[in-house]
């Protein structure tokens, strides 16, 4: 391929340290980014019909990485399976979180784009599931109108967590599908594969919950890097996957493996709209004494608090709502 060829399009499958692997027509192209992607060229607006507009200013675009896994991109080939990404095509969806760069302004970090399904992964035990984190994932998925399938791994160890069923009950009641799987025994794997068929899915979860093991279970050899959960520091898990990667699935569809995320902030969600992102609360919004002004905290006549006390909303989910609201 010559650099003067017309631009080609492809999908970003892997990225690591400024290099992006783009799949296009069965080829795998190792791309770098054009500096233009980081910039926004400002043209004069006085005469939009001008045939030769002159760039007046160049603004740096503020983001951690302008290209995300799953992005459809336009690139120019440079031969020998190399190329340069020149444009990111419009995204159908994106799953984002605030980038945690100490001492800097907060930027958007797009974890994956153009996904069809979010898969929050939690282990039945070791590391102990933190349901507040699940609520964060679910709210993030609701915010971008992506369906979520809760995946509980290490089903073979479920007997060590007798509280598990009770903890999951509120999510079942809301209507979130839950898939229990064991990468060791293979239990639930076939059903899980059916859920992934023909969709682009994103695995999200803490380190050590078994995301990569799950990939190996659904398609042997898919994610080759598996470690045991670290013994120290309360079995928090250690990072096995250190970069984002998307895999094609033999049975149809694709899946994005993400590095373990111990923190997952909400991106671009107004505090007033948070209750809408809890499906069981959405129907109660506007029914409060103070109408849409109610923050559902200590206001009298709050319909959501009433629903919690009547058993319609889980107190744990309400606590998650309050915790998230405090952050926004």
């Amino acid at each position: 391929m010559n650099i003067n060829d017309e631009d080609d399009t492809g999908v970003v499958f892997r990225k690591s340290l400024g290099h992006y692997t783009v799949h296009a027509d069965g080829r795998e192209i190792d791309c770098v980014l054009s500096s233009l992607i980081h910039k926004q060229l400002i043209y004069p607006t006085a005469d939009p019909t001008s045939l030769r507009p002159v760039v007046q200013a160049v603004h740096e675009i503020e983001h951690v990485d302008p290209v995300a896994i799953g992005d459809r991109v336009r690139f120019v080939g440079a031969g020998q399976s190399r190329g340069m990404i020149t444009e990111v095509l419009p995204r159908l969806s994106k799953l984002s979180r605030p980038a945690t760069v100490p001492g800097q302004r907060v930027f958007e970090q797009v974890i994956a784009s153009n996904a069809d399904l979010v898969l929050p992964v939690f282990s039945a035990t070791s590391p102990t599931p933190k349901w507040g984190l699940l609520d964060r994932y679910l709210v993030s998925a609701e915010a971008v109108e992506l369906p979520a399938l809760i995946v509980i791994t290490k089903l073979d160890l479920a007997e060590k967590n007798p509280q598990l069923d009770a903890d999951l009950e509120p999510y079942r009641r809301i209507g979130y599908p839950i898939q229990m799987v064991s990468s060791i025994t293979g239990e639930g794997i076939d059903e899980f594969k059916q859920s992934l068929h023909g969709r682009m899915s994103v695995l999200v979860g803490k380190s050590g919950v078994g995301k990569t093991s799950l990939l190996n279970a659904i398609q042997p050899g898919l994610g080759l890097r598996v470690k045991e959960v670290s013994r120290g520091e309360l079995g928090k898990g250690r990072h096995t996957t250190t970069y984002l990667e998307m895999f094609d699935l033999d049975f149809g569809g694709s899946i994005v493996d993400t590095p373990g995320m111990r923190e997952f902030g909400l991106w671009n969600i107004p505090a007033d709209e948070l209750a809408y992102l809890f499906p069981e609360m959405a129907n109660h919004v506007g029914q409060c004494k103070f109408g849409m002004s109610c923050r559902h905290d200590r206001e009298p006549g709050c319909a959501i608090r009433r629903a919690v006390m009547d058993g319609g909303i889980s107190p744990h989910r309400y606590k998650s709502y309050m915790n998230l609201r405090e952050e926004l």
Binding site: R298, I304, R305, V308, M309, I313, P315, Y318, K319
Partner: protein, 157 residues
């Protein structure tokens, strides 16, 4: 009873409007449950102390005193720790809470004296929840717990 927390954890009581310090050095407890001046609290816990799972968030009124003898048993028999009994004014939930080092002793005595006027019905309801309110004959024990051994109990008490 707090409704606003500052960056250092101090708050202004929503009932008596005193500014309350959250310093452990003053209260002797890690988490303040109630205002040390008026002794009012908020209904925040549901299943266990500190779980913050209650959605009621009603004000909790101090209604009496009890003695914590051992885990889940509140009764004065052979001494124990003096505890405050709170009742939620919204939903009626009862809770038992430790007295902090800087809780106003006069206010605690006021709560105790008012509780002595409770009807038999109210006491029975508390006992139904496993809370045995201190009675008039336990006045001396209350004084000893609040002011130390050897304190002179007023004649009218």
């Amino acid at each position: 009873m707090k409704y606003h927390t500052s960056s250092f954890g101090d708050f202004r009581c929503a009932h008596c409007h005193h500014i309350v310090s959250a310093a452990h050095l003053l209260s002797g407890v890690n988490n303040r449950n109630h205002c040390p001046y008026c002794l009012w609290s908020y209904h925040l816990d549901l299943f266990a102390a500190g779980d913050r799972l209650s959605a009621c968030k009603g004000q909790m009124k101090p209604i009496g005193l009890t003695m914590k003898k051992s885990r889940n048993k509140y009764r004065l028999e052979s001494g124990g720790e003096l505890m405050l009994v709170h009742e939620c004014v919204e939903c009626g939930t009862l809770s038992i809470n430790r007295i902090a080092a800087d809780d106003d002793s006069e206010s605690i005595m006021e709560v105790f004296n008012e509780s002595l006027l409770f009807s038999y019905k109210i006491r029975l309801r508390c006992e139904g929840h496993g809370v045995f309110m201190l009675e008039a004959e336990e006045t001396e024990s209350v004084y000893v717990q609040l002011y130390g051994p050897g304190v002179e109990v007023p004649a009218f008490a």
